[in-house]
Symmetry: C2
Subunit: 446 residues, 2 copies
């Protein structure tokens, strides 16, 4: 039989996360205090994040040991995840390229988000924190943190963009089943929420507003901390378990990738798969190419400006240097809710600036078309976010056919779309809209 899947046994799971900071081609610009515009004092960050996460955020250690308690729950929630060869898709495309994908949808909560949720909940619990507060857009992050709270015995509160709260009732029920508290954002629980509600009592909300509400909530409760699902270095680092597993699995299949692909909102699933391979490129040991795929409706990589900006709409976060569309940009309501963010991970921003990672943007109609082909050939219905990677891969595989190249493409299928079927229905019935903003409200320069 052809080798079409690589599986690691629990005892074969890697036991370290990879921290890209010491290997970056230039040092990370420091986050600036939003009140003074000077590099932020880490002590101030400890009021927002669990202490260990603040340490990890700035760590110069290349590898960080994963605590035993986290390894145990990683195994419970579906790690190591499988790595597949997409043989049926290859045949449908008649491409000479070999296509592999790491399937993070195989985790219990259906996406990669659980990898950092468990780590964040573990460190918070260890510190004696009682509650984690966060925001969620599409709901994948909120779901992951809700389960992590249930498993480690922490209370979880989630501010969910009102538009998603109303359109995705299943996500809300899922989080409640795990025992979390969910509020539509903007809410009347925070001064920032009330400000937006005063503008429009049915304000659809957005990630930027929900982050502000979550942080304000935390600042009013000493036993609470904030939890973020992407962008920051510690979050991306927790995701590198994906790429460390994938390296072992490609070896099991006697393969080495030429090309690595992932979708990008804040950057965490992309980094999770790619950074352990980027490590080899930065050290001159390999020449992999990397493609990061984003929506044309939120094109921070392809059309954003590299500058200091706030992470949220309410300006409660420190300013970070990143590719941004401006913190007041309202991202149009595309189905890939997890990619509706104005900014980008600072580490990924640097890799793009240095030409190591190549960005590409697509409209949602073309990504759903690619996703339906994937579902009918490989059987998995991709999350709309992950469908961006699928579209990128299909285009690369068709180009390889045109050029007669024997590429070996590896991508991150970061989640399944079983709770996002409305987008598929809209596509199948020809009702999808594409969005391409003309300009972006970049307000703050560095």
């Amino acid at each position: 039989m052809e080798k079409v899947k690589a599986v690691l046994k629990p005892e074969e799971m890697p036991k370290k996360w990879y921290n890209i900071l010491p290997d970056l081609p230039e040092p990370l610009a420091p986050p600036l205090d939003q009140e003074t515009d000077k590099p932020i004092n880490p002590e101030k960050l400890k009021r927002i994040f669990a202490e260990e996460l603040v340490k990890q955020e700035m760590s110069s250690k290349r590898f960080i040991e994963i605590p035993e308690e986290i390894l145990e729950v990683y195994i419970k929630i579906g790690r190591p995840t499988p790595l597949f060869r997409a043989t049926h898709l290859e045949k449908a495309l008649k491409t000479p390229a070999r296509i592999y994908f790491k399937y993070e949808g195989a985790t219990i909560t259906g996406s990669h988000k659980i990898n950092t949720a468990l780590a964040q909940a573990y460190y918070a619990k260890n510190q004696g924190i009682e509650r984690l507060v966060t925001e969620t857009g599409a709901g994948q992050w909120g779901t992951a943190l809700s389960l992590a709270g249930a498993l480690f015995g922490l209370k979880i509160r989630v501010y969910m963009a009102r538009a998603s709260y109303q359109q995705k009732p299943y996500r809300k029920i899922l989080m409640q089943t795990y025992g979390a508290e969910i509020y539509p954002s903007p809410s009347d629980r925070t001064s920032i929420g009330r400000k937006f509600l005063a503008q429009d009592p049915n304000h659809p909300g957005g990630l930027g507003i929900a982050i502000s509400e979550a942080i304000e909530d935390v600042l009013n409760d000493e036993n609470a901390r904030y939890s973020l699902g992407s962008v920051l270095n510690h979050v991306l680092m927790h995701q590198t378990i994906i790429g460390e597993e994938a390296r072992l699995q490609m070896e099991l299949l006697d393969e080495e990738p030429t090309t690595i692909v992932g979708c990008v909102g804040g950057g965490s699933n992309f980094a999770g798969l790619a950074y352990p391979f980027v490590r080899d490129v930065l050290k001159g040991k390999a020449g992999y190419e990397f493609y990061a795929i984003e929506p044309r409706a939120a094109p921070s990589m392809t059309r954003g400006v590299y500058t200091y900006d706030y992470g949220d709409s309410g300006r409660l976060t420190p300013k970070i240097k990143m590719h941004t569309l401006g913190h007041t940009y309202y991202v149009p309501p595309i189905h890939a809710g997890g990619l509706r963010y104005h900014g980008l991970a600072p580490t990924l921003s640097i890799l793009i600036n240095h030409g190591i990672v190549k960005p590409k943007a697509y409209h949602q109609t073309e990504i759903f078309e690619a996703a339906v082909l994937f579902a009918r050939t490989e059987g998995i219905v991709p999350a709309p976010e992950s469908a961006h990677a699928v579209k990128g891969v299909i285009d690369l595989a068709l180009k390889a056919k045109e050029n007669g190249e024997k590429k070996v493409i590896l991508f991150n299928l970061s989640g399944h779309g079983l709770l996002d079927l409305k987008g598929y229905e809209d596509f199948l019935e020809g009702r999808l809209n594409d969005y391409e903003p003309k300009e972006f409200p970049i307000l703050e320069g560095s």
Copy 2:
């Protein structure tokens, strides 16, 4: 680290299905021709089912080799599936019992149904059949057959009980994403459908009616065959891959079960896990106990009569000897749509008659309560069907605590509930109804 999960690599997957027929404590009563009441001529069955399936239905071979092409797609759709120890649930129950579960929700379509769907599609394709027609209740079976059709290049048509078609739009979209045609049943496409529509233009439908429509559809198209998702021997046999894997996995964990549990509608997921263990009991090699769990709203095992009855409402199927509530019984609208069936697998009926399998019935409020505890401890949201098994296991584990018994319980978590969250919402908001019919319309005696 404690051993909490057993994983098989693709090359370790068992390569044979187990056929219980030669080992049964008494021979299976022959199906009767619905027109003559005499044992049916197998040739007549070949107009309804693919030829190889008719052979398998009556085979006296104990093991049947799984064709290479099916093994390959088994690997693609997520086999071998993992086997977990439910350590967090054990702690929450403070039970001395050790609890293990085989997780069939880890397949791409989210339940065990894909195991037979792929086999049926493969044999049909091999025979040159162009289309498979079936019915679906909750939608798990229809989803599985839709994907199997996409992977093997067959057209799929599904009659879906109208109540489910309207209440579960996500299931319909999922099947359409795989390229299948879906009709609400009763439909105006068949004479039987039109008969029921004449009684009530908004008739909610049911599995019995949808089966009749699918068979009538097949009888009108020479290139089509019918496909059934449970009850029959060949269907249960395809599911035994579950138990054959579980045997190897329990060995990897140095465990032997004392008690095996599954939920039962037609009987296929229960048989899939249990029959490879029943084999040892029938041969006197082991003394495992088996519990089969059903809803009180459809109690064919605990309150049905063992007699010849039709498999469908329209009396188009042969009569089979089984535990039945009567083919005209309308099963109340419980959330576990996959268990809303009046009959039971004939082989399982015999095992119950001989006291080898013990049946038990629960109300849906208590099964959802068990399912929420499971979600908050083990992280997986069970399908409402599988939640019956969870409830049965929790009661057995609590009884073991009472009696100080060191039981080792193994159960089949046959599917996840990500597309059934409405039931969880109704439970969390205290809106669930329980149903317990007083009597059943058993119309036909043997």
